[in-house]
Symmetry: C2
Subunit: 228 residues, 2 copies
């Protein structure tokens, strides 16, 4: 069974020491890790290098939610580029002078681009969800490696899977934010992103294994439904 969980190392409780310990403990059981601005601003960009050195054969994603002009996004990525495999940016900023430039830059250094299609919190329905068709257009033009879509709203995951069959879909929102493990996978996601549910558990590895089992169970059930 391939690992289908990416662990978000966003929570700061326990600091860098806890992040290192969790990375080591989970390394053999995850598809990858996601590192956000809270961690990097607090401990410096070297934190990415340090964590990666603990578990180098997994996918490392810089989740800075980039949303600026191309030149600035490139300057933000450059200091961490050596220690990550992929970068998350917002589709909202458009192609010309923004994501087009970022994609060309990331291609040139052999790194992956992941675009947020919409988000998992209630506020995403106020603006983001109104422009899903325009976002689809941006996605088709930019052709990023991956997409971020909310596990909390599986209909959106299914929609993106239909429209962008070539894309790798990552679904955050599993656990504390409310999505059940496996639901987004059933709707076409490739990976589910879990954060606090794992990192704040007294046993992160047990929490992760439980998610893996729930994912398998959910996938089994939705395959059965499809065949019925």
């Amino acid at each position: 069974v391939p690992h289908r969980v990416i662990v978000a190392l966003d929570s700061l409780e326990g600091g860098l020491h806890a992040a290192s310990r969790i990375t080591d403990e989970l390394c053999d059981h995850v598809a990858g890790f996601k590192v956000g601005l809270p961690l990097v601003l607090r401990y410096g960009v070297a934190v990415a290098t340090r964590l990666r050195s603990i578990c180098s054969n997994r996918l490392w994603i810089a989740d800075f939610k980039l949303a600026d002009i191309g030149e600035i996004m490139k300057s933000v990525v450059e200091p961490v580029a050596g220690s990550i495999d992929a970068v998350i940016a917002h589709s909202f900023v458009g192609v010309k002078g923004a994501l087009g430039d970022l994609k060309a830059f990331l291609d040139s250094i052999d790194k992956k681009l992941i675009l947020v299609a919409t988000m998992s919190h209630p506020g995403a329905e106020e603006v983001y969800d109104h422009v899903l068709d325009l976002v689809d257009g941006v996605i088709e033009q930019v052709r990023p490696w991956g997409l971020v879509a909310p596990a909390t709203r599986p209909a959106i995951v299914a929609r993106l899977r239909r429209r962008h069959p070539w894309a790798t879909i990552l679904a955050p929102g599993v656990g504390v934010q409310g999505a059940r493990p496996g639901t987004a996978l059933c709707h076409g996601a490739d990976y589910e992103i879990a954060g606090r549910m794992v990192t704040l558990s007294h046993s992160p590895l047990e929490a992760l294994k439980r998610i893996g089992l729930e994912q398998e169970e959910a996938l089994r059930r939705c395959r059965e439904r499809r065949e019925a």
Copy 2:
């Protein structure tokens, strides 16, 4: 004449030393400074404290273009909160679970929120410009201290001035990005943000003074037109 220029310390040429020197040289002649992620990621969050100590009686803005859920945006602001006066976030992430939480947090520590209404690059027309009405709604709900609107597109500045008369409008895009100094002020902006035109000049102070004169001239001409 009040200073109407905010200088963006985004360009990295010359590094921290150049940024310190420019801050010192321009301190008495600007309304404030804007510090972005490129600088902070490269030199650490202490860079904000250090630059501010050189010129503490001006407005210091953290331009991280925040675009995440409320909890993450708060975690990103916390490490720099002590050395800045205001924070820039994107309106498109919506109020619930995002900007509402950020605004409450910033209010509690007596810091200002500035929301991007739309951007200055061509890609802004692909998605952002399509939801200006929804963005207006977010702005009215959140009631941030300030708004960011492109100096390169004065009609949008004028529209925001009409709809949100209470807001402080900051207009980036002056200089290298193509907007003439003073145009955004004529259309209702309170401040114009200049970056490379000043920071990459062989004499930043001269470049700044030239912008100030152009602003005065532009304001005089548009007052005349209005009275004619």
